[in-house]
């Protein structure tokens, strides 16, 4: 059964101040209601003032996603009551949005390129935040914090062009990545992105799924919802056209009883703000290199594989990190960053910006001049990251290598170990001469154990073979 998915994505813009007042948006560790003024608290008589930076950021996004910017647009009021909405309306854009009709290219499930059409982009303000405490009085009241009230959001609406939860996830990753490249968005902020998804199976009613607040959540919610709808249909039930809420903790969607349903939002133009004519601002916006362009450049400039380039440019900070450590051997660097470092970071739940590029470059230099084996390199990296994860200062990998004596065994030490192993295992030597292939591997393994991985297996193999051949002669 064909699946049809459209998304509405709300992203917080990382301006310094709120959309309509001068309150700081940086309230992360501050107590409730400490970043609030007459405007965002909706005191009687206060009036909104539009933040020029928010408009510029939204235009950057519009340009990057190939949208047509309206010659004139305006703000509207969306009227509804909710305890987190101080004015009793949200200032948003309705029938005259900032930009319409764009397109984003992603990879379809079969690996072919696919275009996802963007319906529109508009600016709006975030409501406050409700907190519910458990305890005797739980659910008896709500607690309101208006610090978030008035944070600028862009809402990006897609056409129903997505065909699977995985595609939706890829689209969101691409979008997030693009917004980060545009430097208008900080994806690591709590609640920085919120998604509403419209999901239907061809020929059946559409369900709106609200309140998805993580990238993983989108794929989970969609997968759950598709299964639910298929089961309904299999049992002969029609799909109810409704709004459902995603419960992130339980990984399920639940029918929401009242909030959005049947609400008549009574939109009308916001009389306290003037219209915008900002299309010509586009001429002054120079887009940075976006993920697709950067990927192509990585392949061309550094000679790395398409897959490595895709991984590295899939996160702006990672790509920046790679370019800092690429150095004289970009292919080696790509392998180490994409195949090794990323996994080690994920394992420790660490972010790339915790790794000092100079430290990593130091490690790459050791590997490149063959001073340590790959295995020792990984060990040094792990030691360094563990220190970082424990909140300690990270050692330079060369210091770790010296401390543990991980430098590659070479010259005399190397010959000595080979000779000792051959001496100590006459049975294996005999087996070798009797043509038993496994004997050489056994001897190399013993030698590797002796050197604790500081020697290269191939080099050791060659040396031991030489000794054995000489013995026979």
């Amino acid at each position: 059964m064909k699946v049809i998915i459209g998304l509405e994505i709300h992203c917080q813009l990382n301006t310094d101040t709120k959309l309509f007042c001068g309150c700081s948006t940086d309230y992360r560790d501050d107590p409730p209601n400490t970043h609030v003024c007459p405007v965002c608290l909706a005191l009687p008589g206060a009036l909104p003032r539009l933040n020029t930076k928010a408009v510029e950021y939204a235009l950057r996004v519009a340009k990057a996603l190939n949208l047509e910017v309206a010659e004139e647009c305006e703000f509207s009021r969306k009227n509804y009551f909710y305890p987190d909405l101080p004015k009793g309306y949200q200032i948003t854009q309705y029938d005259r949005p900032l930009a319409e009709r764009g397109v984003v290219e992603i990879e379809a499930d079969d690996g072919t390129p696919k275009e996802v059409r963007i319906t529109r982009i508009h600016l709006e303000e975030d409501p406050g935040r409700l907190v519910h405490r458990s305890g005797r009085d739980r659910a008896g009241y709500s607690l309101v914090d208006y610090n978030r009230s008035g944070i600028p959001l862009i809402e990006i609406v897609t056409e129903p062009d997505l065909r699977s939860p995985k595609e939706a996830r890829r689209f969101l990753n691409k979008l997030r990545n693009t917004l980060e490249y545009l430097e208008v968005f900080d994806g690591e902020r709590e609640g920085a992105i919120r998604v509403d998804a419209n999901i239907s199976l061809v020929g059946h009613n559409r369900v709106e799924c609200k309140n998805i607040s993580s990238y993983k959540g989108v794929e989970k919610a969609l997968t759950f919802e598709i299964t639910r709808q298929k089961n309904q249909i299999a049992r002969g039930h029609e799909i109810t056209r409704e709004t459902r809420h995603f419960n992130e903790g339980r990984g399920i969607t639940m029918s929401s009883r009242s909030k959005e349903e049947e609400t008549d939002y009574r939109y009308f133009p916001e009389p306290d703000l003037r219209p915008l004519r900002v299309r010509d601002w586009l001429d002054d916006i120079t887009l940075p290199e976006l993920p697709d362009a950067r990927k192509a450049r990585f392949v061309a400039q550094y000679g790395i594989s398409h897959n490595h380039a895709r991984t590295l440019t899939g996160d702006m900070k990672l790509a920046n990190f790679y370019e800092k450590v690429a150095g004289d051997d970009p292919v080696l660097a790509a392998t180490w960053v994409a195949d090794t470092l990323l996994g080690e970071l994920n394992y420790r739940d660490m972010k790339i910006d915790r790794v000092p590029p100079a430290h990593f470059a130091d490690l790459l230099a050791l590997v490149r001049v063959d001073a340590i084996t790959d295995r020792s390199g990984v060990d040094a990296l792990r030691t360094m990251l563990d220190e970082g994860a424990a909140g300690e200062e990270m050692e330079l990998p060369s210091a770790v290598v010296d401390r543990f004596g991980l430098r590659k065994a070479a010259g005399d030490e190397f010959d000595e170990v080979a000779a000792q192993v051959v001496e100590a295992h006459p049975d294996a030597v005999a087996d070798y001469h009797n043509g038993k292939g496994g004997a050489l591997n056994f001897l190399v393994g013993q030698a590797m154990r002796e050197t604790r991985g500081r020697a290269d297996a191939r080099d050791l193999g060659r040396r031991i073979k030489e000794l054995l051949e000489n013995k026979e002669a």
Binding site: A42, L43, N79, G88, G140, S258, P271
Partner: protein
């Protein structure tokens, strides 16, 4: 010289909701002058109720732009004046704090919604006061109480701190005993304010001149039509004749959109009000809302209990006018009508300098005289067009009918507030005592 003003004038008209017995003042053009401020304008540290029980006890933590300007010029703010709740009325009967009476006849209304400010000035309690005018709320009480009141060009005075009733129509404006006082107060409050995005940078620095020789005055037939008391019409025609004898040229003209201006006004103001008043949910200010039950239940009960009937009526009308299926018929149509009114005024004001007519179709009503809402709304028919068009309009006393004051309304081009003040000033010099 800075000091304290002891405000001990007796308030026989219930003009004030909040009084300041000892009002401090600073230096400046208004130093030591007692000034009253309509209670829908925010005053830091001083209760601001909007005439509504839903804001009882609310103490704003900030001053409206105009209040900052008054303080900068040394005014002694002696209190907050009564009004129809949220400005919704033509009589000041709809106040949560009791009606204001007309100082000329306590059995009659002072007009509204700035009835408290008008009564305070007319009773001699203060020489000047601030009012607000959404559809005539400065000019109507000025006319009914026999004082001068100016509704400035839309955008000329900052609305920052004015508790919104109908944002696209209303302006704060000066009220006073004389045109000169109104001019002085206008000079103080007319300053650009970046906090109001609809505010223009068009200051006002103007000494009124009585010279109107050669000026053209348009007389729209619609201002003397059905519903206008013939005695009031005659009084105003006499006033216009006075202007003519002072050298002005009088011309007939027509504003056809007057046919639907009042309907457009009521649809617009109730729609905007339905949204503006949504914030009064008792969470952040006002008597506290209950928190035990679900939000719709608590909000409904709170708003049902603390809003007066007229406010409930207008909020519901506006909710309806914006609702799905009716937006096109009401709100959208009203905006087209508003644009048509603006065009009518622009057209007429190309060939005449000002338009003149009665401010109100009648003299001040007796209490309870207008019992049904629609007949009350109809009495705004001559004042709302200036709000829809956004043009300045002044009401200046021009005589009496049955012993009650009558107001002459003078309407000018956008940003020609100086011109309407000049014409009013000329009339004041020439006109009947």
């Amino acid at each position: 010289m800075a000091g304290t003003f002891h405000f001990d004038a007796e308030d026989r008209s219930n003009a004030f909701i909040t009084r300041v017995e000892s009002a401090t003042f600073g230096d400046g053009r208004l130093a030591g002058i007692p000034l009253a401020v309509k209670d829908n304008i925010s005053t830091r540290g001083m209760q601001t109720t909007c005439g509504s029980r839903i804001l009882e006890g609310y103490i704003p933590p900030y001053d409206a732009h105009v209040v900052e300007l008054l303080r900068e010029e040394g005014a002694a703010i002696v209190g907050k004046t009564n009004l129809d709740e949220f400005g919704m009325g033509t009589t000041t009967e709809n106040s949560g704090f009791g009606p204001t009476t007309n100082p000329h006849d306590p059995a009659r209304v002072p007009g509204g919604s700035s009835g408290g400010s008008a009564a305070a000035v007319a009773a001699g309690m203060v020489p000047m006061a601030l009012g607000t005018d959404t559809g005539g709320s400065i000019r109507c009480p000025a006319a009914f109480c026999g004082i001068v009141g100016l509704k400035p060009t839309y955008g000329r005075v900052s609305r920052y701190g004015l508790i919104a009733y109908s944002n696209s129509l209303e302006q704060i404006g000066p009220m006073g005993r004389s045109v000169a006082d109104v001019g002085t107060l206008m000079e103080v409050i007319c300053r650009h304010d970046a906090r109001d995005s609809t505010s223009y940078d068009r200051g006002y620095a103007h000494a009124p001149s009585g010279e109107i020789r050669g000026m053209t005055i348009g007389i729209p037939a619609e201002y003397f039509g059905e519903g206008v008391d013939p005695a009031v019409a005659e009084c105003v025609r006499d006033a216009i004749a006075t202007l003519e004898s002072a050298g002005a040229i009088v011309e007939e003209c027509s504003i056809p959109s007057m046919e639907y201006a009042l309907a457009a006004y009521y649809v617009t103001c109730t729609s905007e009000a339905s949204s503006n008043l949504a914030r009064f949910d008792g969470v952040r200010y006002g008597p506290g809302v209950g928190t035990k039950r679900s939000w719709h239940d608590e909000f409904q009960e709170f708003r049902g209990e603390h809003f007066g009937r007229e406010v409930q009526r207008r909020v519901m009308l506006g909710t309806f006018a914006l609702s799905a299926g009716y937006y096109g018929k009401y709100y959208a149509k009203a905006q087209v009508a508003k644009e048509n009114v603006r065009r009518d005024f622009l057209r007429v004001l190309k060939s005449v300098d000002v338009i003149a007519g009665p401010t109100m179709p009648t003299i001040a009503f007796r209490f309870g005289e207008k019992s049904d809402p629609l007949s009350m709304y109809l009495s705004d028919v001559l004042t709302v067009p200036a709000n829809l068009a956004g043009v300045p309009a002044i009401s200046v006393p021009c005589g009496r009918v049955e012993g009650m004051p009558v107001g002459l309304q003078i309407i000018g081009q956008h940003f020609a507030d100086e011109v309407v003040v000049d014409v009013a000033f000329a009339f004041e010099q020439e006109g009947p005592a």
